[in-house]
């Protein structure tokens, strides 16, 4: 193994290369630059779609309102803020590991790496929980024939769930499953209420109004009772939660971007955790102790900080702006 000696090494063998950096570190940086551009492309595409539908885009504060153990309370942002703190803190433990590596303190490096890995797992769990809430939805909505989403509010402007007012009609439709249909015919699970039940229920509850996707003066427009009934005449589909085709929050693109961007970031976190685990075991085995250089820890550290950096931007453009 040529890598056990640190000084007088060739640049291609872990020694110092051009620009005062080793080739390994430089390549990690170049990878990060290209990956940063990939994420910029995604976020700019999100910006494109949002600018295109600027008057009807969902308001993030109203979509992400869940917090563990606080059922029914509106807690916009708190949960993502918590996730941001988790990731920033795991970034700190990572940089502390790198710092300990400079002093060749094996125990400390291992300890901080372990904390970083734990932080990564907590973040991944949080993201899974966030996805679960997003996919499940809370209130449900109606899609019109033209593809708009109609949500329901009471007189105070608070959201009302479909199940709270839908009528119970004596109608039933069986879900088409593969075993009962013609070849390769099936459908997704049916919504808990039918379009007719929602429309009938709406007629029976005079205090419920339709809220459209339109934003005027930073707020979604709530229709009058007559207009609501008129809009409901073109009701076409009951939407509950979110999937890649439609979502109850509004613009169809919104859920696609959410799944794709946070999913791609989550995938980065996942690979980051895996690489961290590999390096963690290498630290324990004393690989870098023998090498007298903890530069590998520094390199995975760069990747891990990059993941944190991306989250900072996703946090801003998905949840704040």
């Amino acid at each position: 193994m040529g890598a056990t000696v640190t000084s007088h090494e060739h640049a291609l063998d872990g020694g110092p290369g051009p620009l005062g950096a080793t080739y390994g570190k430089m390549m990690m940086w170049f990878f990060i630059v290209s990956d940063a551009l990939t994420f910029s492309g995604f976020l700019a595409a999100y910006g494109f779609s949002r600018f295109k539908f600027i008057e009807t885009w969902p308001i993030a504060d109203e979509v992400f309102t869940h917090f563990p153990f606080l059922h029914g309370t509106e807690a916009p942002m708190y949960y993502v803020a918590l996730m941001t703190f988790i990731l920033i803190f795991s970034s700190v433990t990572m940089v502390l590991a790198v710092d300990a590596g400079h002093h060749l303190k094996k125990g400390k490096v291992a300890f901080y790496m372990l904390l970083t890995i734990v932080g990564g797992f907590i973040f991944l769990g949080s993201q899974a929980w966030e996805w679960k809430n997003f996919i499940k939805g809370e209130f449900g909505a109606i899609e019109t024939k033209g593809g708009s989403i109609l949500q329901f509010v009471n007189k105070e402007g608070e959201r009302v769930a479909l199940a709270d007012f839908a009528a119970n009609l004596p109608e039933e439709r069986e879900e088409l499953v593969r075993s009962k249909g013609t070849w390769f015919m099936s459908e997704g699970s049916l919504p808990s209420v039918s379009v007719n039940e929602v429309v009938e229920g709406f007629k029976n509850h005079p205090d419920i109004l339709v809220r459209t996707e339109q934003i005027v003066n930073k707020k979604k427009v709530v229709l009058s009772r007559e207009e609501s009934l008129k809009r409901l005449a073109s009701a076409h589909y009951v939407v509950e939660g979110a999937n890649l085709i439609r979502n109850e929050y509004g613009q169809k693109m919104f859920a696609n971007f959410f799944f794709f961007i946070t999913g791609f970031h989550g995938f980065h976190v996942f690979t980051g955790v895996l690489i961290n685990i590999i390096i963690f075991f290498n630290v324990l085995l004393g690989t870098y102790e023998k090498r007298k250089s903890y530069e590998m820890v520094e390199k995975v550290g760069l990747y891990w900080h990059f993941v944190d950096l991306v989250w900072v931007f996703v946090f801003t453009f998905f949840y704040l702006v």
Binding site: S40, K52, A81, T84, I88, H305, L320
Partner: protein
């Protein structure tokens, strides 16, 4: 590498504190959304969004400079990494956002109603 053997823990904790404070401020503004920022505009974007974006760039600067330790690298290396990113990202934002706004205008003023 002259920096290799001095300890940076003090600076690390300082940056952590700073990032935490900035995030807290962002979240507080995001929850309150004060009208004087939210409803006044500069270059067609409200001041609150400007504030968020500027604070995000400040955070990004500290992550890259302190945590990724770009401040310890040679100036030429820093330039090679940062300059293409700044240029390309600005270009990407410019081209896509202007185009998005144009499509919005077309939908709005066109004779065909697309969403009803």
């Amino acid at each position: 590498m002259a920096h290799a053997h001095e300890s940076n823990t003090k600076r690390i904790w300082f940056v952590f504190g700073l990032l935490s404070i900035i995030t807290t401020v962002e979240v507080a503004f995001g929850i309150v959304r004060p009208d004087f920022l939210f409803k006044s505009h500069f270059l067609r974007m409200n001041l609150l969004n400007w504030l968020f974006i500027i604070l995000t760039i400040v955070k990004a600067y500290y992550i890259v400079w302190a945590f990724m330790h770009l401040e310890g690298e040679k100036k030429s290396f820093r330039t090679i990494i940062v300059a293409p990113l700044v240029f390309l990202i600005l270009y990407l934002c410019f081209i896509l956002l202007v185009e998005g706004d144009y499509v919005y205008e077309v939908f709005k003023n066109g004779t065909i109603k697309w969403n009803f």
